[in-house]
């Protein structure tokens, strides 16, 4: 039904008389959003099936008048425009798709009355316990009651009593009295998590959300139900009663759990992170993330956090430690173990450092575990693609550093620079490590840091800024959410200082490194850190497409067959 005069295949719909061009099949809620109008809704979620049960999105709908016999438009003599046939009854916007000439009234008296009615109904059996509810501040019930409600109650009967403080699973708590029965959580479990464990029991106003007998909501995506719950019915056991959401500072970040590169929001207050929630990116993670990814911030305040510079175990200043590292690197017989968890900028400077100290062999440690086909891929390093793109490595990393072990045994390597890798987990024995001098840049204590000659504490992903390249070869930015331990430098600064001691001066910030990246890495030409969109940018990956990557299919990723097996 597209208009041939307008080749973009869009159709015109009219929201409160204002024309907006949308794709055919766009529903009224999305069409109104494009026109800058809000149609309030509870049960509708753009990534889930449409059920139309909350009735909050009722609007008035009209179609251009057509003569039923001649099929000709019926014109209005006064205005010269085609007449509109308004439907006598309100229509739900979520289940009505745009057709050419569709008319929507989002704030007529009838629509306002419908919303007031639905708001009143939703609140009559709601406990109104906002002062003790975790959802307060980000609660659709609060927001729409303020925006579209009557502001007073006519309800004098006793409210329904339903179960409270129900443990649905290890991470999700349910308060049935707050539940508005929108069924978003049920649909999420069925359609996205494929773990159909939630359902309603009882009828009518006594309907109650519950888990099937003998089951629990324990899948690794269970906390998404908390995110999409429009009210305070589902809450996170971890975040519950910890912090009022309006105090939280939100920082855009990227999940480092795997090479999917889930877009996240890190919520913190006064240097403490309280939770991680997914950030919508329709090309990467839609609006979801794994539960395991949400726990990663706990590494920030972990007991074994490395926060002191040390030389042979004795505390020194940062500059002393860096100077000692530089001396060791200059002495020759060096090997470098980079990391797929470093940012693109860090990997690039590490490569520059390698070049400055005579191109020693560079290794990377791979982390491969089974993927879940959704948002956790098999490659548990978030940025192996970055190491390839920056040229730090040319082949895919291996899990065991057998070649490095052999080089140690043969005496070819006397110094190892390890960037946040526990070498004892990568196939090197403690005895082997004792034969060499280890410079360890890391965030946490481990077996390698204990043996290390030089310990250089660095910052976690939540405490620094940079970019990762995910499995799709999408460059994505993450930002510093919290400051990190006092006096601890980030990896980029440490590498910058080491480069400076080798006679190269770079501005060791993402903004400072990106001009170099754009100039020296063809795939990143023309890009800059500040102009990189929050949803990331795909780069030309043709150089690296032939490599046999370990990832299988995930939500938005289809593995390309390596060239060797495709033939």
């Amino acid at each position: 039904m597209s208009d041939p005069a307008k080749p973009d295949n869009l159709i015109s719909v009219f929201v409160d008389g204002e024309e907006v061009r949308v794709r055919p099949g766009t529903n009224m809620i999305e069409a109104a959003t494009l026109a800058g109008k809000e149609i309030p809704h509870y049960c509708y979620h753009s990534k889930l099936s449409v059920v139309g049960n909350c009735r909050m999105c009722l609007v008035e709908m009209g179609m251009p008048a057509v003569d039923p016999t001649t099929r000709q438009p019926v014109m209005d003599a006064a205005s010269g425009k085609q007449k509109v046939n308004w439907m006598p009854r309100p229509t739900i916007a979520c289940a009505t798709n745009a057709t050419p000439g569709l008319q929507i009234k989002t704030s007529s008296p009838m629509v306002k009355e419908c919303r007031e009615g639905v708001m009143e109904f939703l609140l009559v059996n709601h406990p109104l316990d906002c002062p003790i509810c975790d959802q307060a501040g980000e609660c659709r019930l609060q927001e729409f009651a303020t925006d579209y409600g009557r502001g007073y109650s006519r309800f004098v009967e006793e409210k329904n009593v339903k179960p409270k403080r129900t443990k649905l699973g290890p991470r999700v708590m349910l308060d049935d009295e707050r539940c508005i029965l929108c069924s978003r959580c049920i649909r999420f479990c069925q359609e996205i998590a494929k773990d159909d464990v939630l359902g309603f029991i009882s009828r009518g106003s006594y309907s109650t959300l519950t888990c099937f007998p003998g089951k629990e909501l324990a899948n690794n995506y269970s906390l998404n139900t908390v995110d999409i719950c429009p009210v305070g019915a589902l809450t996170s056991s971890d975040f519950r009663f910890k912090m009022r959401v309006w105090f939280l500072k939100e920082t855009n970040s990227i999940c480092t759990e795997s090479s999917v590169g889930v877009n996240t929001i890190v919520s913190s207050r006064e240097g403490t992170i309280y939770r991680i929630t997914p950030r919508r990116n329709d090309d990467v993670n839609d609006t979801w993330m794994s539960d395991s990814g949400r726990d990663l911030f706990k590494q920030v305040a972990a007991e074994n956090r490395l926060d002191k510079y040390a030389l042979d175990g004795a505390p020194v200043t940062a500059d002393q430690a860096v100077a000692e590292a530089a001396t060791l690197l200059k002495a020759g017989k060096v090997a470098i173990v980079g990391s797929g968890r470093s940012s693109v900028e860090e990997q690039f400077l590490l490569k520059k450092l390698a070049q400055a100290v005579g191109n020693p062999p560079v290794y990377l440690v791979s982390r491969v575990q089974p993927g879940d086909g959704l948002l956790v891929s098999a490659d548990r390093n978030p940025n192996v693609r970055g190491a390839l793109v920056t040229g730090l490595i040319n082949e895919l990393p291996e899990q065991q550093l057998a070649k490095l072990a052999a080089a140690i045994e043969s005496g070819a390597v006397k110094t190892i620079l390890s960037v946040d890798e526990d070498l004892t987990l990568a196939g090197l024995t403690t005895d082997q490590l004792k034969k060499v001098q280890v410079i360890y840049l890391g965030t946490h204590h481990n077996s390698t840091s204990q043996i290390a000659k030089v310990e250089l504490p660095v910052l976690t992903v939540f405490e620094r800024t940079g970019t990762f390249i995910n499995q799709q070869f999408r460059v994505q930015k993450f930002h510093q959410a919290v400051p990190g331990p006092a006096g601890v430098l980030n990896t980029l600064s440490v590498l910058g200082k080491l480069l400076a001691l080798n006679g190269q001066n770079v501005t060791a910030t993402p903004q400072g490194v990106w001009p170099l990246l754009a100039a020296e890495v063809p795939a990143l030409a023309g890009m800059a850190f500040d102009t990189l969109p929050d949803t990331g940018k795909l780069i030309n990956a043709s150089t690296w497409e032939h490599l046999p990557y370990c990832e299988g299919k995930t939500l938005k990723y289809e593995p390309k067959k390596p060239a060797a097996t495709a033939q």
Binding site: V51, G52, R55, L58, G117, V118, V156, N160, S202, R203
Partner: protein
Amino acid sequence: MPITEHRVILKYADQPGYTNTIDCYLQHGGYEALKKAVAMKPEEVGKEVEVSGLRGRGGAGFPAGMKWKFLDRKSGKPIYLICNADESEPGTFKDRQIMHKDPHQLIEGMMITAWAIQAKLAIIYIREEMPFAAKILKRAIEEARAKNFLGNNILGTTYSCEIIVHRGAAAYICGEETGLIESLEGKRPYPRIKPPYFPAALGLYMCPTIVNNVETLCHVKHIITMGGAEYAKTGVPNNTGTRIWCVSGHVQRPGYYEFECGKITLGQMIYDVCGGLHPGRALKAIIPGGSSAKVLRADERFKGKLRDGTEYNWSVNDIPLDFDSPAACGTMSGSGGIMVMDDSVDIVEVLANLNAFYAHESCGQCTPCREGSLWMKKISSRMTSGHARPEDADLLKNVADQIAGRTICAFGEACAWPTQSFLAKFKDEFVAKADNKPRKELRLI
């Protein structure tokens, strides 16, 4: 003047000696219509039903022939026929009689319909509270299968179709056709949103499906026997055929009575057929089409113009019993359940009772009906327990107004119409409840 029934569906049902076995049915000309139908082309059968003007007997009165025409035959998916035997509208008890006393008539009607729409499978969805009917139907199906009226290669044709009896789990909402389909699929009977889930296109298992009421399907048999045009001569134009009316309440002879549509008035039904009210009582109100229909007040008059232009000025007793006339009076013939109330009833009690039913049966899927039905119940039962407030009458009416027309299925209207009509017609009695009564201290919560 005594009025005699015009029985078609229940012609033999109550005759002495008539049993629900296949032998008895065959002796009375049974399955001849099916033989006639399978000799016709399926579309010819559909055409006869269309010509007959048969309207659905389940409640909405939608033309059955038109419903069949909506069927999506191009999808290539199997077509299903469902017999809606979830008769649970308060005041309605006609389908039960058919299934108990003449099950083969239903089976024959279903097989003719199945042939007409070329259904792959036919299902009788029967309400849980009718265990005997389910048992009778199952036995009747076995009998019919033994005689090759259903099953493989029916009556020597290449067409095969089975009938399955599926018992519900006692929920009024399963009478709503999409709720019924969800229930058949093994889910909660949440009615589906329409569009897009019209059963004729996306019904059972997302396949084209026809859902017809028990009585409607029985009429199909008689349409084939008589021929559509001949059938259309019974009743009145646009309201063809006979209909079984279920009369309950304060009449001398409550029961089920079959008449031609439009050939008898409400007054005749109450006074001539059912023997009138109990001695010394006066008529107060009538609910003419099952509990969801809007109530009629005994002293109301209805003026207007019919479709053919004739003007009418009816009292309640003058309303012809068909589909269109009750609709012209602002109510509906619905499922044919006529509930008569004399002046002994407390109208607020009646509404409280109805509201309790709807609050209990609301499926809980969409907000207005889920919360509104229980709220209305709570208000009306409070009013009957001596705690009415003067403002309750308006509040009750307004709550109902917030439900009707805003829900996924017709249950919204079904639960709002009684309250709306009771308040519109008997408001003084609701207001009177609040007068001079000790009142519980109420505060807003």
